[in-house]
C-alpha cells in the first residue's frame, strides 16, 4: 500500500502479525486497501482506509485494539497506535503521543509491543486472543 507512510506500514504489519485467525483475515483486508486519507491532530494522526469493495468483512463487526508502541526521535515518551475495525473491515489507524506534539517528520523509528505497561519485543498473544474472543 504505497499511500501509507513507512511508519504506518510498519505499524500495521506489526499490529496484524500473528497466528490468530482474526489477524490473518485482517492481513488479507490490509492487502485490499485502495487509498488512505490522513488527518493530523497535533498530538497524532488518523489515517482512514478505503478498501476494495469485494473485501470480506469479519464476523466481528466492531473492534479496536493496539498494543504497538514506537520510539521516535523528538518524542520523549514515544507514541502508541490504535487500529479501528468497523463494519467488519479495517477502518482507520490512530497514532498518538503522550502529551507531546506529533513531529512533522518521522525519518527514523523503532517499534515494540506494550506488555503490562512496558515496551517489549515479544507480544502478549494471550491477552490479544482474549481481547479478540
Amino acid at each position: 500500500m504505497s499511500d501509507l507512510t513507512r511508519l504506518e506500514q510498519a505499524v500495521m504489519e506489526k499490529l496484524l502479525d500473528g497466528d490468530n485467525p482474526l489477524l490473518q483475515d485482517l492481513r488479507k483486508q490490509f492487502e485490499e486497501i485502495e487509498s488512505v486519507e490522513r488527518k493530523f491532530t497535533g498530538a497524532g494522526f488518523f489515517t482512514k482506509f478505503r478498501l476494495a469493495p469485494n473485501v470480506r468483512p469479519l464476523s466481528k463487526k466492531s473492534l479496536t485494539f493496539g498494543d504497538v508502541a514506537a520510539t521516535i526521535p523528538g518524542l520523549k515518551n514515544g507514541a502508541g497506535f490504535l487500529l479501528f475495525v468497523r463494519g467488519g473491515v479495517l477502518d482507520q489507524l490512530e497514532g498518538y503521543t503522550y502529551g507531546e506534539f506529533w513531529p512533522t517528520d518521522v525519518p527514523d523509528f523503532g517499534l515494540g509491543y506494550i506488555v503490562k505497561g512496558q515496551v517489549k519485543r515479544e507480544r502478549d498473544t494471550e491477552a490479544l486472543d482474549k481481547a479478540f474472543a
Binding site: T41, A43, G44, F65, G80, F84, T97, Y98, A131
Partner: protein, 74 residues
C-alpha cells in the same frame, strides 16, 4: 503520588470523536482510578465506566502528572 492535572484530547478532531461530556467523564474517571490504584510514573491503561460503556483509557504519568493519550471502546 497524586495527579496534579490532566491533559486530554488536544485536537478538535478528538473532541469531535468523543464529545465534551464524555471527555469530562473520562477525565474524572481516570483521575479517580489513578488515585484509588495509587499509580506511579509510567505508561498506564485502565478501564473507566462512562455511562453504559466501559472505556479503555491510555496515557502516561510523568512526574505525577497524568497525560491521557487516547480513549476507546474495545
Amino acid at each position: 503520588m497524586w495527579p496534579r492535572c490532566l491533559e486530554y484530547f488536544y485536537s478538535s478532531q478528538k473532541r469531535q470523536h468523543r464529545g465534551q461530556g464524555h471527555r469530562e467523564a473520562i477525565q474524572q474517571g481516570t483521575l479517580l482510578a489513578a488515585r484509588t490504584q495509587g499509580l506511579g510514573d509510567g505508561l498506564f491503561e485502565m478501564s473507566v465506566q462512562v455511562g453504559s460503556s466501559l472505556v479503555t483509557v491510555r496515557g502516561n504519568i510523568i512526574d505525577g502528572v497524568i497525560n491521557i493519550a487516547t480513549a476507546f471502546i474495545p
